[in-house]
């Protein structure tokens, strides 16, 4: 029994090390916003925590397959009923893990993401740049509030300045869509009759041509051309952004 436990623990530790090394590999698309940095950090944190849990199951199964095999039903195993201390320890450990993950990164991350209790969306309600995003089957239109600039249709570039907080006020005129920018790791649904919002802080330059995660993508099934409902995003310097705005106005 004791030798088996030690061997299994060593096996678990080895598997866990391999798993954690895998967790260090490059998993994420390009980082475009502050929120994306947070997401990558939290995702990796949960992965570091989750891998040892996964390997507990894997190592016990594989170890038992190798060590406790029988050729048939002739012999019975020891009558361990699992009462007393072992299940209580298990319950305490899993309970602590669940409550711990619930508090950090769950509730703490949530409080960072939400600025109001009764609103419908992510981030601050105020931002430097406000863009009204309206979904309809099967394209988006983006109205730069106060700028008299509107970008309509698939394939038309949405240009955003770097180091700015940008609020998307999201709406829909027909069915439910969802505004998702993978490089920003943020998403909010577009609901007819309700204005939802998400505020992101851009921190890196990037274009769709170089990094396909710089795109606005509909993430809620909206019918026929759902898969084609996307707009490229270009994050540029403030000067380039002002030039772009001016060029759009002159059109």
């Amino acid at each position: 029994m004791k030798a088996n436990v030690i061997a299994a623990v060593v096996f678990w530790a080895a598997l866990t090390l391999v798993g954690e090394a895998f967790a260090l590999s490059d998993l994420f698309p390009a980082v475009g916003s502050d929120q994306a940095k947070d997401f990558d950090h939290i995702f990796r944190f949960l992965l570091f925590l989750g891998i040892p849990v996964f390997t507990v199951a894997v190592s016990v199964i594989i170890f038992s397959l190798l060590q406790f095999r029988a050729r048939g039903p002739e012999e019975d195993g020891p009558a361990m009923r699992g009462t007393g201390l072992p299940p209580r320890i298990w319950l305490a450990v899993t309970g602590c893990l669940a409550v711990g993950v619930m508090i950090y990164p769950g509730l703490t991350g949530l409080s960072k993401l939400q600025s109001t209790g009764s609103g419908f969306g992510w981030g601050d309600t105020d931002a430097e740049i406000v863009i009204k995003a309206t979904g309809q089957r099967w394209f988006w239109s983006f109205e730069y509030v106060g700028q008299d600039v509107t970008v309509i249709g698939n394939g038309r570039e949405v240009v955003l300045p770097v180091d700015a907080s940008i609020k998307f006020e999201v709406n829909s005129i027909d069915v439910i869509h969802s505004l998702w920018v993978p490089a920003f790791r943020m998403k909010i649904d577009a609901i007819p009759g309700r204005t939802t919002f998400m505020t992101v802080k851009t921190i890196e330059l990037g274009t769709f041509a170089d990094q396909q995660s710089f795109r606005i993508q509909c993430a809620e099934l909206c019918g026929l051309d759902h898969s084609a409902m996307e707009s490229p995003v270009r994050v540029v310097t403030r000067a380039e952004y002002d030039d772009w705005l001016a060029s759009q106005k002159s059109k």
Binding site: L27, F28, P29, D38, F39, L46, V53, F54, A57, I61, S64, L65, F68, R69, G72, P73, E75, D76, G77, P78, A79, M80, R81, G82, L91, L97, A98, V101, M102, P105, G106, L107, L110, T116, G117, S118, G119, F120, G121, V175, I176, S178, W180, A183, M186, K187, D189, A190, I191, P192, R194, S213, Q217, A219, E220, L221, G223, L224, S227, A228
Partner: protein, 634 residues
């Protein structure tokens, strides 16, 4: 030919009902001054009367309906294989009817998955238009949901629960037959949806899209409302059966763990299935009766549907997975030849999941634009549910530890359930925590996650259970070598396909799309190839089942040397299961406990420990005394 009579009667009466419904509605509409034909309203009425005609024609009229008019009822006593084609009230026949029907549906749904993966081998369009892809995707979704909800509950549950608790049959046998006979019209109706343009809303059918979309939605709505009805009636039947039909001495503390799992499952099906039906009924009323539950311009709210829908559809994942846990733990205990570790904690976990299942639904809606104050409570409840789930793992891992693992095909499947669900459980944490879910929601990460939990957790358990009960059901033994080939083929194919699928999701590949970004070409090609590999594994299964059912060697009464009651009767069991009603004395899993007896058959001696397989004189069809013959080597 009773079978032909029954099926032709069902089809004929169904068609007559269908046209009567359309005609009756047309007459009323014409009298009121409208056009006699209104596509959606006519189909709805035709469907309702058509389904009534179908079940009556299938034999419900003779076995049940005549009674309502004071007439004498009769049963069609069909011999041999024909009993599977009539309105049969034997739970064993119904279980096999369910299993075979849903294996067919599963293979059809799998074929759709192959078509989807063929389209997704490369970005751009390969085989299908967007409309065709959406239709195939929606059908794959709803057919597999139906398989996941009903194959294990209706198939293995119906077959095994009365045997495990020592009952003659379910509490309401005719109701049980009705729940099965409602299934074929549902399947046929779903398969008809491409004729009306195909469902383009996926299986979730969110309005306003489902209100605005083509006429196929109406078929989807009425079919799934019917399917919900079978789930509710089945749930009711299981609850009553497990409470009232247990053999003398089968106290709650001695109930096999699969029965406990079915008990929790049945309560969930009974309490929550209405949610799905109601959400579809509201969509139906919006479409047919011109109401505006979901039309914001007329005072409706699109999010109402998601709350009602997920109020069922989250508990539904426990309808899928709890019986999977139950049968996996059952098999793990028998094949490890050890008592079920921490049995009481496992029961507590099943009931804990039942309790929590109703308060976690909105974690499917974290990015839906629901009010911000709702996220916190649902995050907390969702994280809490990992505690009872963890106890299931304790139970499984504790049981195999130091056991005498007999690695038959069902045991391999049961261990795979634990392996796969561990992966699905860990990825679930990322989706339960709002900060990570915002990015991952509606991405391929979610697709990978729920295939790991539902397919890896439940469908693996279903296949394990089919192998486990195959000798009992058919009286023949399956081919162990082919079974193991199927297992390893499916296990490897499944894990390669769905493990890699997480990555495109993190990279930003949204789900339910016919086309994707070109930088994900390689990953998708690998997933598609692995998916085809996985799909091919089921050919081995089908061959093994068909071949062994016809040509397999005769099975013993108890090839697994298991202690539970289902293995103490003949293979296949007689009509009312046990020649002598059993009396339960001890715990079902007391392996390695000297002198322990699970059940006695008064007048016939104890079922255990005497090892010779035939305890009932003259009942066993198998060659007597064949020790370890059918089970194959480990």
């Amino acid at each position: 030919m009773y079978a032909l009579k029954s099926v032709a009667g069902a089809l004929g009466a169904g068609l007559i009902g269908f046209y009567l419904g359309i005609g009756g509605l047309g007459a009323v509409r014409a009298l009121a001054g409208y056009d006699a034909w209104d596509t959606e309203m006519s189909i709805t009425f035709g469907y309702v009367f058509g389904v009534i005609g179908w079940v009556m024609g299938a034999g419900m009229w003779g076995a049940w309906g005549r009674e309502w008019f004071g007439l004498r009822t009769y049963d069609r006593k069909a011999p041999g294989w024909q009993r599977y084609f009539v309105f049969n009230t034997d739970h064993k026949v119904i279980g096999i009817q369910y299993l075979v029907t849903f294996i067919v549906v599963f293979l059809l749904g799998g074929l759709m998955a192959m078509l989807m993966r063929a389209e997704l081998t490369h970005s751009g369009h390969q085989l299908f238009s967007n409309a065709q892809y959406n239709s195939i995707m929606g059908l794959h979704g709803i057919m597999m949901i139906a398989v996941a909800v009903a194959a294990l509950v209706g198939g293995i549950g119906n077959y095994a629960v009365p045997l495990l608790i020592g009952a003659e049959d379910m509490a309401f046998p005719r109701l049980n037959a009705l729940t099965y006979w409602l299934i074929p019209p549902v399947a046929l109706t779903l398969l008809c949806t491409p004729l009306l343009g195909g469902i383009e809303t996926g299986w979730t059918a969110y309005p306003p899209l489902s209100v605005l979309t083509n006429n196929a939605q109406i078929l989807f709505d009425v079919a799934i409302i019917t399917f919900g009805l079978t789930s509710i009636l089945g749930g009711l039947n299981f609850v009553v059966t497990i409470i009232f039909m247990r053999a003398p001495g089968m106290t709650w503390g001695k109930l096999p763990i699969f029965v406990w799992a079915m008990f929790a499952t049945a309560w969930i099906a009974l309490l929550y299935t209405q949610g799905f039906a109601v959400s579809l009924l509201m969509v139906l009323l919006d479409r047919v009766a011109g109401m505006s539950w979901f039309d914001a311009a007329n005072g409706g709210d699109p999010l109402l549907d998601q709350h009602v829908f997920w109020f069922y559809s989250h508990p539904a994942v426990y309808v899928m997975v709890l019986p999977g846990f139950g049968i996996a733990l059952e098999m793990i205990s028998h094949f490890s030849r050890k008592p079920l570790f921490a049995y009481r904690y496992a029961v507590g976990a099943l009931l804990g999941i039942l309790g929590l299942s109703g308060v976690v639904w909105a974690h499917h809606m974290f990015t839906s634009g629901m009010p911000n104050y709702l996220h916190g409570p649902f995050l907390v409840a969702t994280e809490l549910i990992s505690i009872p789930t963890g106890l299931i793992f304790l139970c499984a891992l504790g049981t195999i530890w130091m056991g005498r693992l007999w690695l038959t095909t069902p045991m391999l499947f049961a261990l795979a359930v634990i392996f796969n669900f561990a992966c699905g459980g860990v990825t679930g944490i990322f989706l339960a925590d709002v900060p990570t879910d915002i990015h991952l929601q509606d991405s391929y990460f979610v697709v990978a996650h729920f295939h790991y939990t539902i397919m890896g957790g439940e469908i693996f358990a279903l296949f394990g259970a089919i192998y486990y009960y195959f000798p009992k059901m058919t009286g023949r033994q399956y081919n162990e070598r082919l079974g193991k080939i199927h297992f390893w083929w499916m296990f490897i194919g499944f894990n390669v396909t769905f493990f890699i699928m997480h990555w495109p999701g993190i990279q930003g590949m949204n789900r339910r799309i016919a086309d994707f970004m070109s930088d994900l070409n390689t990953a998708n090609l690998i997933v598609s190839l692995a998916g085809f590999f996985l799909g091919a594994s089921f050919l081995v299964f089908v061959f093994n089942m068909v071949w062994s059912w016809i040509f397999g060697p005769a099975a013993e009464r108890n090839p697994w040397r298991a202690r539970t009651l289902d293995w103490q009767t003949d293979s296949p069991p007689p009509l009312e299961n046990f020649p002598v009603p059993p009396v339960v004395r001890g715990h079902p899993y007391d392996y390695g406990v000297p002198g322990s007896v699970h059940a006695l058959f008064p007048g016939r001696g104890a079922e255990e420990p005497p090892r010779p397989p035939s305890t009932f004189p003259g009942a066993a069809p198998a060659p007597a005394g064949g020790g370890g013959g059918g089970g194959g080597g480990g």
